[in-house]
């Protein structure tokens, strides 16, 4: 029913600053998992399996591969612009940002692990990652047992989408040309 409302009137868009204050003031409860997308507060579903285990596996393997050359963050908010602060499943960040809130310039790679959220990740979140200039994003489709790598961000999405030939040595966007071993992911 509210879809009609969206077509007929303007939904008020919150800024990232508004959204953060709502969290600090308890208007958004601490136990609520949310992200801000184009000024709208989106609720994230409860974390279930195999989603959680898959995200943990990827994060672990990434840490082994990157060692101290990057920071691996799980479910941390990333400020993309004035109205977007998503919470990607995994973020690979430039070293040295520990403790600070990550902004888009800190991001080397974002990874979304999709179970029920595939369309939302692909159609809502990835175009916004591309628009913000996030250089690379991976989509892990648990249902389809498929990893896609998205590169060359533009205003409307990623121009390059490819599937790696194997999961044993997936190249990471780091100067040292490290690869991640994701065998056993699916």
């Amino acid at each position: 029913m509210n879809r009609i409302a969206h077509q007929l009137a303007r939904v008020h868009r919150l800024s990232v600053a508004d959204y953060r204050r709502m969290g600090e003031l308890g208007i958004l409860a601490a136990d609520l998992r949310t992200e801000l997308i184009d000024g709208e507060i989106i609720e994230l579903p409860p974390i279930g399996q195999p989603y959680a285990g898959s995200a943990a596996l990827i994060a672990d393997r990434l840490r082994e591969a990157v060692e101290r050359s990057a920071v691996v963050a799980l479910h941390e908010p990333i400020g993309l612009d004035d109205h977007c602060e998503p919470r990607p499943d995994i973020a690979l960040l430039r070293p040295g940002i520990d403790g600070a809130r990550a902004e888009r310039a800190d991001v080397l790679l974002l990874i979304e692990v999709a179970d029920g959220s595939l369309r939302y990740d692909r159609e809502v979140k990835f175009p916004r990652y591309a628009r913000a200039g996030i250089p690379e994003a991976w989509l892990v489709d648990l249902g389809g047992r498929r990893l896609t790598i998205h590169r060359r961000p533009g205003p409307h999405g990623y121009a390059d989408v490819m599937t790696p030939s194997g999961l044993g040595a997936v190249p990471l966007p780091l100067a040292g040309l490290q690869t991640a071993d994701l065998s056993g992911l699916f």
Binding site: H6, H12, I37, I42
Partner: protein, 189 residues
């Protein structure tokens, strides 16, 4: 239009209490005209003069017609349920000594709501009226400025008003305030 409109099952719905706190704490600034509809904050368009003049005309005529039998409020919040607090153009309310200083009126306080629609006709008709009906608001008048037409909506039900009429005579409209009261809206259009 909202970017997530296509895939929007998970938009967080604010409560009326959240929404009022956002106003009190300045997260929603005083320059904003908004209403809360099903937990989402909707921005109201700037008020044009045909709309504003029509609202003033109706509100003044109504006040003359009802006297002390009701309070006539203009563009004030009325809460409907835990997630909706719209700003109807005109609300005719049960009289109360404190004039609702101690809390916004709710469904039980409302005798009649009036929406004056210019560009907002579809929004008023398809979004707001069904919610007024669901909350049990007993009567709503919809004034369609473009179509030069007034419709009276009665018999609220969960999905809308069961009864919609277009009065023949704008000069003698009964106002549902519990005592006999007629308003003359002859020069409305």
């Amino acid at each position: 239009m909202s970017a997530t409109a296509e895939i929007r099952a998970r938009v967080h719905r604010l409560t009326v209490d959240d929404y009022r706190r956002m106003g009190a704490l300045g997260i929603l600034g005083p320059e904003l005209r908004t209403e809360l509809i099903d937990g989402e904050i909707m921005e109201m368009p700037p008020i044009g003069h045909p709309h504003a003049g029509t609202v003033k005309f109706i509100a003044n005529r109504l006040k003359e017609a009802v006297g002390a039998a009701a309070i006539v409020a203009v563009q004030d919040p009325v809460w409907l349920d835990d997630h909706s607090e719209p700003l109807p153009d005109i609300a005719v309310l049960c009289p109360r000594a404190d004039y609702y200083r101690t809390g916004h009126p709710g469904p039980a306080d409302v005798l009649l709501l009036i929406e004056v629609a210019d560009s907002s006709l579809h929004y008023d008709r398809e979004v707001k009226l069904p919610r007024y009906a669901r909350a049990g608001i007993p009567e709503v008048w919809l004034v369609d400025l473009g179509g030069r037409r007034l419709t009276v909506h009665r018999r609220p039900a969960p999905h809308g008003y069961a009864d919609e009429t277009s009065p023949d005579n704008l000069g003698l409209l009964p106002v549902p305030v519990g005592v006999p009261a007629m308003v003359d809206l002859t020069s409305l259009f």
